[in-house]
Amino acid sequence: MTSATILGVVVGYLLILLAIGVWGGRESGDLKGYYVAGKKLPAWVIAFSSNATGESAWLLLGLTGMGYAIGVHAFWIILGEVLGVACAWIWVARPFKEYTDRYDAITVPDYLTERFRDTSHVFRWLSALIVLSMVMAYTAAQLTASGKAFDSFLGTGYTAGVWIGLAIVLFYTTVGGFKAVAYSDFLQGVLMLGCLVTLPIVGVIATGGWGEMIASLRAQDPALLEPMGSYGLTTAGVISAAGSVAIGLAFLGSPQLLTRFMAARDQKQIVDGGFWAVLCVIGFDVGAVFGGMAGRTLFPVLDDPETILPVMSAELFPAFFTGIFLVVVLAAIMSTVDSLLILASSVVVRDVVQKALGSRASERALSMLGKGITVVIGAVGLVVALLEVRVIFDFVLFAWSGIACAFTPVVLCSLFWRRTTRAGAVAGMIVGFGTTVVWVRMFKADFYDLYEMIPGFVAGLAACVLVSLVTRPDSEAVAELESVRETVGPVF
């Protein structure tokens, strides 16, 4: 009976996703429709969709696990993510939207190519290389999580869980395109928010109240209530806190998030959406950390802290809500996979096939090709997930930060610094990405596990600035930046 209830909730949710896919299909007949929903999305959709994409299963399993394992030291992550989301919506979104509307750009490499008057397509090839390698690894990792989630909640077996997760995502992504992806992400974001607001409230009540929870945590380990955690005010503590804050940098320039700004109906949607996005990320992160802390009080001896959310959902809630919690874990996985698949497909079809290789195929034919590429990339992710290819899974360690460090410094310089040149931007992308990979592989363990986002971002920014200073910027591009600045107007 319990399994039937959970199964009913999951099937109901999956049917809604399929319906969203069919509904979104009307917009996906050309490339602009398929990849940016015709640039018609309202504020509330881009707000929830960007946060749901930015927070994968890591939010539900990883951040609740951190609340469980390190307590209030995880508040530094809240600071980083809230600031990252706020700064992205306040400073990055409007000039980026203005530029991409002027260029009629539908991908981030489209924007970089036009912004730097690049005729060699170097941004398109470089982006394709970075995005494809990282997306395959990250998709495979998320599909692995899907297999484990289906198996642990419904006993489907790992292989069947991977297949079911991918089949649903592929259906609504290929049929409905970015419109289906954005609206399903909205639904998934709302579900995640509801779950993460409910979890700590029920958890704290179950512990006997706020005072009881804090007393229990203090009795277990006083460091759980210290902002600098068990490190104290030491080099390791400061580096750990700085690494947590740096997580927010990814929100400023990752292409899967910038696509949401591009797809907004107009500038007003960005002004209106920012407030919802900030509220949403506060609800996500505060709920996850306090949920984990309540879980530590209730179930203090878990082998794996990252299982605290499934354990709490099974122990504290009736079967229907356990089904909802499974749906929320699936939602976090799917909202990331769908966005990555469509990002990789856009880079292949728009940037490589249509622009770099100069295909003269019709928009309709290219849109069909885009759907085919989405399936192929998903299939590669499936094979990697099923065979558990070790080399590919090593990429997951730096997939998120690798994409962020390749694009964020360059996008920020291109929007705010008139001296940025094409050569500087190329150098910034290569050095930012390369430093992330090298740091994880060779230096991270020897430097207090410093999160690779910091050296990757700093090196990418330094390369972009230094190379730009020794090369000459395009005068038209400089004038255009002034014009964009004037159109967008001051922030405050």
């Binding site: 508040f75 530094w76 002004v271 900030v278 405050f492």
Partner: protein
């Protein structure tokens, strides 16, 4: 929970919300037409 933990949480939440609210207010003020008298003078 110790005071410094509360402080960190309030800084995280307050900074994000405060910046965003200031931004929205500034943008709405910019979007509104300036005072009616100066608009009428502009028309003349």
């Amino acid at each position: 929970m110790p005071l410094d933990a509360w402080l960190l949480l309030f800084v995280a939440v307050g900074l994000g919300l405060g910046l965003e609210l200031a931004f929205v207010r500034a943008q709405r003020r910019r979007a509104r037409p300036s005072n009616p008298r100066s608009a009428a003078e502009d028309d003349r």
